[in-house]
């Protein structure tokens, strides 16, 4: 398990096809569009991320909590549930599973302040979160150990000789991928490879030999704007795509490196495109966002 993704419950039970995922969302789609649903997912991923930041937990815990949330909504429609309660409960459980338990009262307290910033109450107590935890466990089929791309990223980056700041950048891309459905669709090491690819494609592959486009380069150009215009802290804003690395020796032939990874290049392209369209769609988000409020009203009735 911990040593082998493919025999884990994550690898055997929780990788869905796009079709299967679409089927899971049929009920929600009666009320909102596909695009709206993407925005809803970004919205709740942000809530969980903010909750994690308030609690000062590590990124992996945030990623686990978001994965639980997404798994939960492959078994339920938003309509008959209370996603804010589900979100808080996912964080509560993720902290326990990642061996950094948080007091249930801290979870509730921080969730209250986060929702307050968004102009919403969070009117649940211990009892409600604890009750929800039971339901969550059942919906997860008690599969609680989740794999993330971070570890693969470190391994791949080391093999490739990627510089630290570039690894950091790819790390942020992985964080962002949790706003999409990637964690339900692809094995974590493929997401890691895609993040690394995106880093190379967008921020200069000068340090590497060879042509680094896997398919067409149009997506990459297209996305460049998306990434750099977003205010994403140190990673994206500090660095000019081409400035990085005159001094670095050419490391590896990048195309053959990806080829020997033994991952499906089509999947990588798919993930890259998904992340780029995330950047195009996201960005405008705002805590008082009227649009999302209107979507949520329709979705949750």
């Amino acid at each position: 398990m911990a040593a082998n993704f493919w025999t884990s419950t994550h690898g055997t039970n929780w990788l869905l096809s796009r079709q299967a995922l679409a089927d899971c969302r049929k009920i929600d789609r009666q009320y909102v569009t596909e695009q709206d649903l993407i925005k809803v997912n970004i919205w709740f991923a942000q809530i969980i991320t903010d909750l994690g930041r308030n609690l000062q937990v590590r990124q992996v815990i945030i990623a686990t909590a978001i994965t639980y949330f997404k798994r939960f909504y492959t078994k339920n429609s938003f309509r008959n549930t209370e996603p804010n309660l589900v979100a808080a409960t996912c964080m509560y459980l993720a902290c326990k599973i990642e061996e950094s338990p948080q007091h249930i009262k801290s979870i509730i307290g921080d969730m209250k302040s986060i929702m307050q910033e968004r102009g919403e109450p969070f009117a649940y107590d211990n009892q409600k979160v604890a009750e929800m935890e039971f339901y969550l466990l059942e919906e997860l089929d008690f599969n609680m150990i989740v794999y993330h791309p971070y570890r693969s990223l470190m391994t791949l980056a080391q093999d490739l000789g990627t510089k630290n700041e570039d690894v950091q950048w790819a790390w942020y891309v992985i964080n962002d991928s949790y706003r999409t459905d990637m964690c339900l669709l692809y094995p974590p090491h493929v997401v890691a490879a895609a993040a690394l690819y995106l880093q190379i494609a967008l921020r200069g592959g000068a340090q590497y030999d060879g042509d680094y486009s896997l398919t067409s380069s149009s997506t990459a150009n297209n996305g460049n704007a998306g990434v750099t215009t977003r205010k994403r802290g140190a990673a994206a804003s500090n660095s000019n795509p081409n400035s990085s690395n005159n001094e670095t020796p050419k490391v590896k032939d990048i195309r053959s490196w990806f080829a020997q990874l033994n991952v499906d290049l089509e999947q990588i392209t798919d993930i890259v495109q998904e992340i780029i369209s995330l950047y195009n769609l996201w960005g405008e988000e705002d805590k008082q966002n009227e649009k999302i409020r209107e979507i949520l009203t329709r979705l949750l009735k």
Binding site: A2, T9, I97, H103, Q127, E133, L137, M144
Partner: protein
């Protein structure tokens, strides 16, 4: 909205009593209680006979916090055990059939194991009054190491290996149980020490833990296996110390008595044997111990039923002071001891003419419903006449003053 969801969930829920009939109660601990149960559905075996399937159901008490009695969700320990059991699959690890939720309680349904090491050790020391056959000991040890090697290959530390937690099926297959303290240790988010201040029952606790090591490794499980091996050979705990209790401020006390018991047999460790010993937090406390010499060889020759040199070699390799030099489970499996006759087998009871007493099952119970037609009188006969219930899945804390390790989980301040 929640009401609608709740109704949908509750209606879809399978109740424990729909699927299982409780035969009786096996043991209890701080976590809750363990029951023996049969599945209501029988299966047909190859020769067309109806076969009953027996399980052990571990029912957790709801986690109540302090005296406020507000329910705060599932315990860290249940969380670990369920999440790990869901992922692990190995012949020598107890297998989790399913988990059912009912009345705010978690029910873990495990495969049933008729015996455990502690029960077998007691049977030999109290009733047979002769040692466990070498073939059985070797098979037990090999299978135990086989399970531990699997855990370690998957980056899981057990952290509470002791005879009561090592189960054996009626077919002589060893099953490591009680993963309530187990955890994944690959790149932990926090040092292991920050989570649980105290791990492993005192008699089986490795010297680096006793010396306050903050970062420990899978070697702590191997030390425990070494202690268990010695106990199988002599029918007595090898290092039977007394635990110094934690004070009110939750400071972890120095375990002088336990270290003394270890030094009595293995000698006081030197910097030669264990080069980093002076980096252990409790190292300054060692100055009060007088130097002593290693008499494990004498102990083995005089007290152990087995006379094999290779057996001694393996025992001393597992009871190596320096955790870095201590043998790994993987290497232990290939140790010459297992190449010698009698060779170990996956049926530890192969060729054995007698049967160990069955696990005691009690019928009196006020928690889960036990049918009034209690067949437990028949079920538990062998066990009950020999007295005493024993901890299935561990924690027979009350049993003859055996210590147990209940977690004192400290929520990290961050």
């Amino acid at each position: 909205m929640l009401a609608e969801f709740r109704t949908k969930r509750e209606n879809g829920r399978i109740r424990v009593e729909d699927k299982y009939q409780v035969i009786g109660f096996i043991s209890s601990g701080t976590y809750g209680r363990v029951y023996k149960a049969r599945a209501k559905k029988t299966i047909k075996s190859a020769d067309g006979e109806e076969k009953e399937l027996i399980y052990a159901i571990k029912k957790f008490k709801p986690d109540k916090e302090g005296d406020t009695h507000t329910y705060t969700g599932i315990s860290q320990s249940a969380c670990r055990e369920i999440s790990l059991c869901r992922e692990l699959r190995h012949q020598n690890i107890i297998s989790l059939q399913e988990v059912l939720l009912e009345d705010n309680s978690i029910h873990m349904v495990f495969e049933y194991a008729e015996h455990d090491f502690l029960q077998i050790i007691h049977h030999h020391s109290q009733h047979e009054r002769k040692p466990i056959p070498e073939f059985t000991i070797k098979s037990f040890l090999w299978q135990l190491l086989n399970g531990v090697a699997y855990l370690h290959a998957n980056w899981v530390l057990h952290r509470d290996l002791k005879p009561a937690n090592i189960l054996v099926t009626a077919d002589g297959v060893v099953k490591i149980g009680d993963l309530g303290l187990a955890r994944i240790y690959e790149r932990p988010l926090q040092p292991l020490f920050n989570g649980d201040k105290v791990v492993v029952t005192i008699w089986y606790r490795a010297p680096e833990l006793l010396l306050g090591s903050r970062h420990y490794t899978k070697a702590i499980d191997i030390w425990a296996v070494g202690c268990i091996f010695a106990e199988l050979l002599t029918l007595r705990p090898i290092f039977k110390g007394e635990e110094a209790k934690m004070d009110n401020k939750k400071n972890v006390p120095f375990q002088k008595n336990q270290l003394n018991k270890i030094f009595d047999v293995l000698g006081k460790p030197t910097k030669d044997q264990w080069p980093t010993i002076d980096q252990q937090p409790e190292y300054p406390n060692l100055s009060s111990f007088r130097p002593s010499s290693n008499r494990l060889r004498d102990f083995y020759t005089n007290s152990c039923s087995c006379k094999s040199d290779a057996g001694y070699g393996l025992l001393s390799a597992m009871l190596e002071y320096d955790p870095v030099k201590r043998i790994t489970a993987e290497d232990a499996l290939c140790h010459p001891y297992f190449e010698e006759e009698p060779k170990p087998s996956m049926d530890s009871f192969e060729g054995q003419l007698y049967q160990y007493p069955l696990r005691a099952v009690k019928s009196e119970d006020n928690d889960m419903k036990v049918p009034p037609t209690a067949n437990s009188a028949v079920q538990g006969q062998a066990g009950t006449t020999h007295g005493g219930t024993r901890g299935k899945h561990g924690h027979s804390g009350k049993d003859e003053g055996r210590p147990s390790k209940r977690r004192s989980y400290v929520i990290a301040d961050n």
